[in-house]
């Protein structure tokens, strides 16, 4: 790479770099509190001595920059920005007489507490992970003894198995149309499959009801499903020109016959 043009405006390059860093980083933050914590580090003071007012301004200008760079900000970042703007006004303006609610100082103190607590938890998490760990720094017995003297079979399951098992049962209604009702309905495809080989013998007018699968007439729910799909299948067959349909009057039995030219 050639050296940067010596005449190029250095400040603008820095500004652009900073802006780019923001773009890259904004994804890296785990929410507004994380961003605030990161920003607070730039104050180079103990977290207990941090200026929340300055921090609020840093955050707001970060958000402004992000907006001007058209970075999509998640809603919670904007909620935090609105809240910090409110906090800032509380901190700067004397409280109006008769105004209730917590003072700006109380709110600021709580925010400082939250930041300190998050920082402390991160530090603790790091300390925890830095400990000697089983399977990495220290080890368990490599050959758990296996004396095959008394052999007893026990069954085991984990809590996750249990909860997932329960969840599976309680949510299977969502799959119901596909799974549960399968054996209670006759689909049109099934009815068609049934009828195709049979219509070859229907040289004469025959009641459609005689095409219902065996055993389906007795249960009303099954009969309804089978009748509907068999009727639909017969319409399909009529459309294909394979059969003719007739019904002598309303509600009379529907009859079908193979088309002689079909």
């Amino acid at each position: 790479m050639a050296e940067p043009n010596a005449f190029e405006n250095v400040t603008s390059v820095d500004a652009r770099r900073a802006a780019e860093a923001l773009i890259v980083d904004v994804d890296g933050y785990e929410g507004p509190l994380d961003l605030l914590l990161t920003l607070s580090r730039t104050q180079k003071v103990d977290l207990r001595a941090i200026s929340i007012l300055a921090l609020a301004e840093q955050y707001l200008s970060f958000i402004d920059q992000a907006k001007s760079l058209r970075i999509e900000l998640a809603a919670d970042y904007l909620v935090m920005a609105a809240w910090l703007a409110f906090l800032k006004s509380r901190l700067l303006l004397p409280p109006e007489p008769g105004e209730d609610g917590p003072s700006g100082e109380e709110l600021a103190a709580h925010l400082a507490f939250q930041l300190e607590r998050l920082a402390a938890m991160r530090e603790s998490a790091a300390q925890l992970m830095a400990r000697d760990q089983k399977g990495r720094d220290f080890f368990v017995r490599g050959i758990p003894e296996d004396v095959t003297r008394t052999r007893r079979v026990t069954y085991t399951a984990t809590l996750l198995d249990l909860m997932q098992g329960y969840a599976r049962i309680r949510t299977k209604d969502e799959f119901r149309p596909f799974v549960m009702d399968r054996d209670r309905i006759l689909t049109m495809e099934q009815a068609l499959d049934r009828m195709r080989p049979l219509i070859g013998f229907a040289g004469d007018w025959t009641d459609l009801s005689s095409y219902l699968p065996e055993g389906w007439e007795s249960d009303p729910a099954l009969r309804r499903s089978a009748t509907a799909s068999t009727f639909a299948a017969s319409l399909e067959l009529a459309k294909e020109g394979k059969i003719e349909l007739r019904q002598s009057e309303t509600y009379a039995p529907i009859q079908i016959r193979r088309r002689s030219d079909g």
Binding site: F139, V140, R141, G142, I143, P144, E145, D146, V147, T148, R149, T150, R151, R152, V153, T154, Y155, T156, A157, T158, L159, L160, D161, L162, M163, Q164, G165, Y166, A167, R168, I169, R170, T171, K172, F175, F178, V179, M180
Partner: protein, 215 residues
């Protein structure tokens, strides 16, 4: 003065070497040969000598250093084999039908057989309930005050122990399962057929933790 190359790789004292051999033999899943020991220990170490010391140290203890072919292993003393009965337990994963039945009892207890069947959508085989009774994870509760006075099932202390629960009320509800990401979307709907669950076992029994924080 030692040579520069040597001093850098000076062998650790014999006591240290003995510790090393001890740790390696303890953690290894198989007997380890002297060559393997030497390869894993720092340059200049003498595993064969360390083994002699180690063998002496374990003489008369509950654990012995034994030679297996060309390799070495630490084994419990043969005269204490009678203490090892607990290690011979064979664990198998509970069948899916049993897990579901157990889950329903845990969440709905006291639950009758008819209720379990209604929730599962299939009938509950005698064997499933028997198995859970035998495991002492469920027991009979009070009879229901409904026609027929059916028996009910409830979960036992043993159940709570096994699953590391303080009470069945601490089981998360459906909404909580969902919001905690525990409602498994990964389970394909095609899986609804009751099957013998032979996949992933882990055999890990959660230990009894009910008292772990109590003094």
């Amino acid at each position: 003065m030692a040579e520069p190359g040597e001093s850098l790789f000076e062998a650790p004292p014999m006591g240290e070497q003995e510790r090393m051999v001890e740790a390696i033999l303890f953690a290894s899943a198989e007997p380890v040969s002297v060559a393997d020991l030497n390869a894993r220990m720092p340059h200049g170490a003498d595993a064969a000598e360390a083994l002699v010391h180690l063998r002496k140290r374990y003489e008369g203890r509950g654990v012995h250093l034994v030679k297996v072919g060309d390799s070495y292993a630490l084994r419990t003393a043969p005269d204490l084999g009678f203490l090892m009965q607990k290690e011979t337990v064979e664990t198998r994963k509970l069948s899916r039908a049993a897990i579901e039945t157990l889950a329903i009892i845990a969440y709905h207890q006291p639950a009758t057989r008819a209720e379990i069947e209604e929730i599962r959508g299939v009938s509950v085989s005698r064997g499933t309930v028997d198995q859970l009774l035998e495991l002492e994870w469920i027991r009979f509760g009070r009879r229901k005050m409904t026609p027929g006075r059916p028996v009910t099932y409830v979960v036992t202390e043993e159940f709570l122990d096994h699953f590391g629960l303080e009470s069945a009320r601490d089981l998360p509800g459906l909404k909580e399962l969902r919001s905690a990401g525990l409602l498994d979307n990964r389970a394909p709907p095609g899986n609804l057929m009751p099957t013998e669950d032979d996949d992933d076992d882990d055999g890990l029994e959660p230990e009894d933790q009910s008292e772990m924080f109590e003094e």
